[in-house]
């Protein structure tokens, strides 16, 4: 019978049906970071358990690392103690740790793929909701909580119920100035922040087929913002070409054997889906969020909804968002003055993202009132970018070039908004308080749009913006 990739991977990794009615699923790769793991390791110690498959478990620090001064001990003593806890846990339990000294540290969802750890047909778990990123390779990758981290550490399995599968096809041609970030923001806007609950999202169509792995990762990354715990793209030649020669990818004849199996795990052409959504690429504009959840977005020159124009059940949410953001229904987001520009995160902190942003800022200057930072997704991304001179391009324009980490995506390190600041951000969440100030405001957009906003000092439409003409002139 024809099956989807999700069903094939699920069936291949299902150990048994547990007495609680859920499935025991084997996890091929477990990624660990400092925020959601210490309580899990503590419980292992308490119960006298070991890490069942330390060779399938990899750790890094990303959420709390300072991106400016990284000398140890960190100035933030709690960040320091979380880091030491992870060091101790990795040492005691035999887990490979990509620490700051390794040259391989970075955001957990950047380092898995860049090392070739993330592979098609695999099950992956990590105590972070953006684990969906790894689905770009045709893996089934679950964001989990700390108790499940404990379960995966102790048993290399977890207890789960299967998901339905929604195929989302994006066909046609993206217009110039429209990026993978706009595609996923458009999808979330269309299907809603809870539209994906109970589903795995399979992204397909000729637009996705033509995308690079970096772009596919951006799309899969934000599946969770659409309510879908996992998202994936069927593996193809683009996937295999990316993986070849990565440190943990198969070598020589093994690679060909792997490609045969990876190919066999893709959804069958006649597989049945629980739902199919088709999107015309030409309908997608550079998209910007204006509200307090990632579904509250609009084409950059579109108009914000008015509470009185939406369904009665949605009015309170729209009003709350407009009030928090100090926007008026019916206005445009284009022209909104920004205070901060942030380029980075597991959504858009990879080399190609930095290249796109650098193209925009090259030879320009960040507006005088804007504080702008670029945070590479990993140490390897930083090194590659520096080799191309991107750090200098950003620095010349007035951006701060930082060290790798999650940084201002969730502001668990010193990188935070202050007060009511508005941030043009290439990250994934615009929740109230997300960027470190309870009253701070976030506008999500593509890295290129963030770069342009940094220079212009306000949100601009990169399709029509001319950097040489002062904004407002």
């Amino acid at each position: 019978m024809a099956r989807t990739l999700f069903q094939k991977v699920w069936d291949t990794h299902a150990v048994r049906t547990l007495p609680n009615g859920q499935t025991q699923l084997y996890i091929g790769l477990h990624l660990v970071h400092e925020v959601t793991s210490p309580q899990a390791f503590a419980e292992l110690r308490e119960r006298g358990w070991t890490v069942r498959a330390p060779q399938r478990t990899f750790a890094t620090i990303d959420h709390i690392v300072p991106t400016a001064a990284q000398a140890r001990p960190f100035a933030d003593l709690m960040a320091e103690s979380m880091t030491s806890a992870l060091e101790r846990n990795c040492r005691d339990f035999g887990v490979r740790f990509f620490d700051l000294a390794s040259g391989g540290q970075g955001i957990v969802h950047v380092i898995g793929p860049e090392n070739g750890l993330t592979q098609p047909g695999m099950t992956i778990a990590c105590g972070d909701s953006h684990t969906s990123t790894h689905g770009a390779f045709g893996a089934i990758a679950f964001g989990i909580g700390t108790s499940q981290v404990r379960d995966v550490l102790a048993t290399q399995t977890m207890s789960l119920s299967p998901l339905k599968v929604r195929r989302i096809e994006v066909n046609g041609r993206l217009r110039p100035g429209v990026y993978a970030k706009d595609v996923i923001l458009h999808i979330i806007g269309l299907l809603g922040v809870k539209g994906g609950t109970g589903y795995a999202y399979e992204y397909a169509g000729d637009v996705v087929d033509r995308m690079t792995m970096d772009e596919r990762m951006t799309i899969c990354n934000m599946s969770i913002e659409g309510g879908a715990r996992i998202g994936y793209v069927n593996p193809d030649q683009t996937t295999f070409d990316f993986l070849r020669d990565r440190p943990y990818a198969p070598k020589g004849a093994d690679f060909d054997t792997a490609v045969t199996w990876w190919t066999s795990m893709a959804s069958d052409p006649d597989a049945a889906y629980d739902d199919v959504v088709r999107i015309d690429a030409a309908d997608i504009a550079p998209t910007v969020t204006w509200g307090i959840n990632p579904g509250q977005s609009v084409g950059v020159n579109g108009r914000l909804p008015r509470p009185e124009d939406v369904a009665p059940g949605d009015r309170a949410g729209i009003s709350e968002a407009l009030e928090f953001m100090s926007f008026e229904g019916g206005q445009r987001v284009e022209g909104t003055k920004i205070d901060v520009a942030f380029i980075g995160s597991c959504t858009n902190g990879r080399l190609s993202d930095l290249r796109e942003a650098a193209k925009i800022v090259k030879g320009q200057k960040v507006a005088a009132h804007v504080r702008a930072i670029v945070v590479p997704g990993s140490q390897k991304v930083a090194v590659a970018a520096e080799k191309e001179g991107l750090d200098q391009v950003f620095a010349d324009a007035g951006f701060e070039w930082r060290r790798a980490g999650c940084s201002m995506c969730l502001a668990m390190n010193p990188d935070k908004l202050v007060g009511r600041e508005i941030c043009a951000s290439s990250s994934n969440r615009n929740f109230k308080g997300r960027q470190g100030s309870p009253t701070g405001r976030t506008l999500l957009m593509s890295p290129a749009m963030v770069a342009a906003a940094a220079v212009a000092g306000e949100v601009v439409d990169i399709r029509t913006w001319d950097a040489h003409v002062p904004v407002g002139a």
Binding site: V15, L18, P19, N20, V35, D128, Q148, E320, G433
Partner: protein
């Protein structure tokens, strides 16, 4: 494994849809290596925002002190996978969350720590919230076996996936021991996985 059959006490309503985990427990309180004390910061920024607007957040309202059942809207707990969110709610004293719908990871995390989650229709929730707001000392009782929520003299059917219901009732919500049971089956499956038996280079 402890069996969970019910939750009973006063109810506290957190109005609005899409209440995300950053609101339930802001990220700055995740800078910890234990879950101790999270209850002091549950909904902290929302509470501060309410204060700044001269309002009282339900979690600051003395009338709702000691509540055992949290009433929520649609997509409750969306956002990050931080278990700190259900931990903070549970440690504050909540034994069950009844909402219009839940974000999936929050729902799973809650089950893992024995915090019962059940859903009702938006119309029923509007009624329940009105009841709890108007009468903070009204007794609510979630009966997991019967799949009902009793509020005063009203009995409302609630929805909960069968596997979740049986996990709570049997004590199987604490799954680690189940996962360790018959572990030879896990080893057999792992040995059959082409990448585990074939081209793995994880020790590279």
């Amino acid at each position: 494994m402890s069996k969970i059959e019910s939750a009973q006490g006063h109810a506290v309503a957190v109005h609005g849809d899409d209440i995300d985990t950053d609101r339930i427990i802001p990220a700055r309180f995740l800078k910890t290596i234990t879950f101790d004390g999270l209850e002091d910061h549950v909904f902290e920024d929302d509470r501060l925002e309410a204060q700044a607007h001269g309002k009282v957040h339900p979690f600051d309202d003395p009338a709702h002190k000691g509540a055992a059942i949290l009433l929520g809207g649609a997509n409750f707990g969306c956002g990050s996978s931080r278990e700190h969110a259900p931990q903070a709610i549970k440690r504050w004293g909540i034994g069950a969350v009844v909402a219009v719908s839940f974000a999936e990871i929050f729902f799973g995390n809650s089950l893992m720590i024995g915090l019962a989650c059940a859903t009702v229709s938006p119309e029923q929730m509007a009624d329940l919230m009105a009841l709890a707001d108007a009468n903070p000392t009204l007794d609510f009782r979630l009966d997991i076996a019967a799949s009902t929520l009793t509020a005063g003299d009203r009995v409302i059917p609630v929805t909960m996936p069968e596997s979740v219901r049986s996990a709570l009732l049997s004590g199987g919500w604490d799954a680690t021991s189940l996962l360790l049971d018959k572990y030879e089956e896990v080893e057999q499956l792992a040995a059959r996985l082409p990448y585990v038996s074939g081209w793995d280079r994880l020790s590279a």
